[in-house]
Symmetry: C2
Subunit: 329 residues, 2 copies
């Protein structure tokens, strides 16, 4: 690995001059600049980011903290973030917290130790004290915070849309699945749906769940149909759960969407490949990631607090686990 000194020596100039052409600031004679550039090329030199970070006390790294990349919703967020930060010349330090406070703290510490310029966090931690004395721009993604800028989808509206969709399409005994209590977006959806169901002329019941894992989704699906065999409409807490319910319903020989309508949440890529394909409330995950990254970068550039909450719209994706709505209603 060539260093700036090698380049300087080869080009017959000082390291200061090389640094100047590297960073394109300060005065450099046009002749000199050319010679330096040539030498850089010839030596295949590329500056040591670590040394740079040390002096500047900031790197070109951004920390991204997720609950679990294995959950199909998060890769999309992550890609949005990555694509956007890359454009601005940053790279990602990635961590999965698994909802464990210790891991989360450990990652935050590594982020700081490595001089990241900002952090994007999509975790569900309750104790926000983890983030209180971070002296860096932080944006929360897929959840809101009173203390930090955040980017999220309109969960309440999503819940409402889901409920309305089922009601409009004739379900009268609806089961609403309530996601894990500590997952904020899940609660927003739940509240939205609850509100809408409450003011409609339908029977409904609530089924509480405690996590989003694949295996457990199956368990709840079974639980759902033993507890509420008569249900004719299900609002799932997300697409995984929705697909698990669809699976179980088909196994029980129910006809979808005639006997039972199902609506999911998120619109993960695979939801269009279920059969019947899953109707769902779409969250623009990729865009959310991008927005979060944009916001963070703005904060980094301006070096000032931009206390912003960016709410992205959700939308109903009508596929085949819901009936066609009566147009003349």
């Amino acid at each position: 690995m060539a260093t700036i000194r090698d380049v300087a020596k080869e080009a017959g100039v000082s390291v200061a001059t090389v640094s100047r052409v590297l960073n394109d600031n300060g005065y450099v004679g046009v002749e000199t600049r050319k010679r330096v550039l040539e030498t850089i090329e010839r030596l295949n030199y590329s500056p040591n980011e670590v040394a740079r970070s040390l002096y500047k006390r900031k790197s070109r790294l951004i920390g991204l903290l997720l609950p679990d990349i294995t959950n199909p919703f998060f890769p999309q967020l992550a890609r949005g973030v990555e694509d956007e930060v890359n454009q601005a010349g940053f790279r990602l330090l990635l961590g999965n917290s698994d909802e464990e406070a210790t891991k989360e703290l450990d990652y935050i510490q590594t982020f700081e130790q490595n001089h990241v310029v900002g952090i994007i966090s999509a975790t569900n931690n309750t104790d926000r004290e983890n983030y209180e004395n971070i002296d860096l721009p932080v944006v929360f993604l897929d959840r809101t915070s009173k203390h930090h800028p955040s980017v999220f989808a309109d969960g309440r509206e999503g819940g409402r849309l889901a409920a309305r969709a089922l009601i409009d399409r004739g379900s009268t005994k609806i089961t609403l699945i309530k996601g894990p209590a500590h997952v904020q977006p899940a609660q927003d959806r739940f509240q939205g749906a609850l509100a809408e169901l409450s003011k409609a002329a339908v029977d409904f019941s609530v089924l509480g769940t405690t996590s989003y894992a694949f295996e457990e989704a199956k368990t709840w699906a079974e639980e759902l149909f033993t507890k509420h065999p008569e249900t004719d409409g299900v609002i799932a807490s997300n697409d995984i759960v929705g697909i698990a319910i669809l699976h179980e319903a088909l196994r029980l020989g129910k006809s979808i969407p005639d006997e039972l309508q199902i609506i999911g949440f998120d619109d993960i890529p695979l939801s269009s490949l279920s059969y019947p394909s899953l109707s769902t409330i779409r969250q623009p995950a990729y865009e959310m990631g991008k927005e979060a990254a944009k916001l963070l970068i703005r904060m980094i550039k301006k070096e000032q607090e931009i206390d912003q909450m960016i709410q992205l719209p959700v939308s109903l994706i009508e596929r085949n686990t819901t009936r066609k709505v009566d147009k003349d209603e």
Copy 2:
């Protein structure tokens, strides 16, 4: 942020001493050590990784390069890698190459610029020259290389298993989907299946595809049934494609697995949630990630070339898109 000098001054010792207790090497009086430790605690000091990296010329970062985290197979690999490197005290710098050589090179450059101690790459790039003059341990994941240690699943055997499964269960007009030509594991599967089909008493045809994307999977599914309407067994190039085909088959009113058997590849989490649930050849993705990380860490520790190829076994996961096999056969 407190520095080592602050600690030294507070504790009334030299920075050298603080460094010694920090790294637990060299002699430090038990009394002194205690005092330093207390001060560290009190000042909430944690060492600056960047400064450390600069001096040591190596960080505690590992670079992970994937084709696309959005493809459900890769998050599993990534988690395996992450969990294992974390245990050894390393963190991940993540990059998605999107099969673009430029991006791949850019990431490799950032990895080097940031002093990563090793690289794990799961890309499909053909020109291995990208990796030729890297002066770092590199392990390839989910693909083999003559020039570097690698960790991968037994794709040929997987292909064979898939073909045999269908044949044993009575399919006689099999369609074999050939994945993208530049994706090595896809070709291994294909070759394995091809070999097995060739020596069996069945008719078969091959359908070539060019990518793994969700949208295109649907297109091929349609293409499949127009070109080969009479097929009674499909070997998909992966689970996404398998699920897309299942979807299309159901749409066309085919009964699964009676009229048509389908077998996928990978065993991504969602494949058990399709209906009927997808039979598939399982690759132990998480374990593959872990093995790759272990191997890399061994290379880092020993600072020597360990030229190893680790092949992990695949297995047939019988679910409901294949018939029950005749036990007395």
